[in-house]
Symmetry: C2
Subunit: 346 residues, 2 copies
């Protein structure tokens, strides 16, 4: 019988229940800043680590053991379900996965399919093993990219400076854009539902590239597909965190997609953000990752500022406002976790 962890700091905060100490985890907490990660990565490719349950499990556990975070998040990549749909992914050492042939026409789209639940079974296997390994220590978060962010990846062919291809499609070929986004929403629903059934105790959906759209486009052409996903997940009984990077000026619209907790980046003051999101939602964030490259006095000053802005209100999960940087000293990551715990304990 697996511990359900519903009394954990993290899941109580997701439900906006009062907690004695603010829970903290770190986006990309299983990553290159950790010597243990680099040691494993020296022996295996990134994609091999994503696809081999035993390796994904080992990496997922590293920050739980190493720096004492209050939640584990599955080690994986947001392109995993995209590859399963039929998008060709190129694996160049040192660059991470890149799309071989961007999807830009109806004919391109015809080559893709909506995945069924077992097509990426290595993900669910990793989740099942992790639930046993974590054995009641901390809850496990599953995740996916949001439909627009996945669409941007496969239309642009990777990261992008101006997102001209996806946005030109949005403006000039609205029917094609809608077909692609609906397809991706269906994939994300299948993928996240299967993660929850395998044992994920919370879900984070990443709109990493919300920064590429105006509030107008977000409301009319991005949010509807996220709302479709979150409506489908509502019956699963696990909290959903929706992190939308660069959405500081339309956080109310992000909250309206139906998330339980809204993750915010570090470009907005946390109190202002929470006002926009509304008190009926939790908030996750939002320390600037680069502060972790500074001294510990600076880290403590900035953690204090965020905790003061959160004002002890139930529903705050501490995190960075973006993924931790590879050059972060691991002792500073650990100091952050300790600092949040020490300064927030009543």
């Amino acid at each position: 019988m697996l511990a359900d962890m519903s009394d954990s700091l993290f899941l109580r905060a997701c439900r906006r229940e009062p907690v004695p100490t603010v829970p903290v985890w770190i986006m990309r907490q299983a990553g290159r800043y950790m010597p243990a990660y680099r040691a494993l990565r020296a022996k295996h490719s990134f994609w091999e680590m994503c696809k081999t349950p035993e390796l994904a499990v080992e990496v997922t556990l590293q920050p739980v053991n190493g720096i004492g975070v209050d939640a584990a998040i599955l080690f994986s990549d947001i392109l995993v379900p995209v590859e399963a749909m039929g998008v060709g992914i190129e694996f160049t050492e040192g660059r991470g996965p890149v799309i071989e042939k961007p999807i830009r026409t109806g004919a391109d789209l015809d080559t893709l399919h909506i995945i069924d639940a077992e097509e990426v079974s290595f993900v669910y296997d990793a989740i099942r093993i992790l639930r046993g390994e974590l054995a009641g220590r901390v809850p496990l978060i599953g995740f996916s990219g949001a439909p627009y962010t996945l669409a941007s990846y496969i239309v642009e062919g990777g990261g992008s400076r101006n997102y001209t291809h996806i946005k030109t499609m949005m403006y000039k070929e609205p029917a094609l854009y809608d077909r692609l986004l609906n397809m991706l929403a269906d994939v994300v629903i299948v993928y996240l539902t299967a993660q929850v059934k395998a044992g994920a105790q919370a879900i984070q959906m990443f709109e990493s590239w919300a920064s590429s759209v105006s509030p107008y486009d977000y409301r009319t052409r991005v949010a509807p597909y996220s709302r479709k996903v979150l409506a489908a997940l509502a019956g699963l009984g696990v909290p959903v965190i929706h992190f939308a990077n660069g959405a500081g000026n339309f956080l109310g619209d992000v909250a309206a997609t139906g998330a339980d907790v809204v993750g915010v980046d570090w470009r907005v003051d946390l109190d202002d953000a929470w006002t926009e999101i509304g008190c009926d939602k939790g908030i996750q964030g939002n320390l600037d990752p680069i502060v972790l490259l500074g001294g510990q006095d600076e880290i403590e000053r900035r953690v204090t500022d965020i905790l003061v802005r959160a004002d002890g209100r139930p529903g705050h999960i501490f995190n960075l406002g973006h993924g931790i940087l590879p050059e972060t000293p691991v002792e500073n990551a650990k100091y952050l976790v300790d600092c949040v715990h020490r300064l927030s304990t009543k």
Copy 2:
């Protein structure tokens, strides 16, 4: 006797006086999207065009003649005064100017000097010629980077993904950071004062990389140096537009630096932005540049949305929310200008 243009749509809007038609200009309006620009650029390097008054004048006039904008802005580069300080600039064809050796230590800083007004006389020569050429048609805007943005350039060595060097200096070496920023503020004061004396009728100061800092850092470590510059310019009698890219969540702090008009990017709704800035300031913006890659119906819909949000309040200058993209069809840029004029005329 040169026309002072104080009755122009643009300068009246800068003073928040009622105007019959909303004025519009476009950031990077003299640029690669124009065939006339590309023709000249085929014969001269970018830096040569910046440094040769006759070429800078020709390029500056192209969008005034070609698409009918309501203000001209001097063609130049924000690194011009930086090079004059002694920072080595590398000129690689196709990449634009890049810093040869980033400035990261006190010894590096010792090699730089505060420019005197005549060190970049080609800039002031271009302004003087332009005032004659424009002959009362539209006002001329001068410009500079803001101290933090210039500092980021010379410390990072160019554009940057995470701005780790400048921000690590900010956190770990506050005295060195302060020395550098004060020096740059002094340079910007000399540079902009000389532009106004040469004939610039308004000034735009670009904080292009406000997007790299949190509200906390902006208030404590970026704004003070901009405030120093704007206080020194206050007596010159020309309006100052301060464009801070990515500052959507701390526009009140940007306004508090002392600008007459705050330029806003396209990630924020214009009405929300103006509320943050305050009614005692003008606002400039804020169409997403990528909309110009869409169809003209989309452009008209989006211009309408922005004009509705501005609500006819005096003090709105229409612009993009970032520089125009090289791949923009020139007829769409012209359509934008016509559209703003037609839809805003009372």
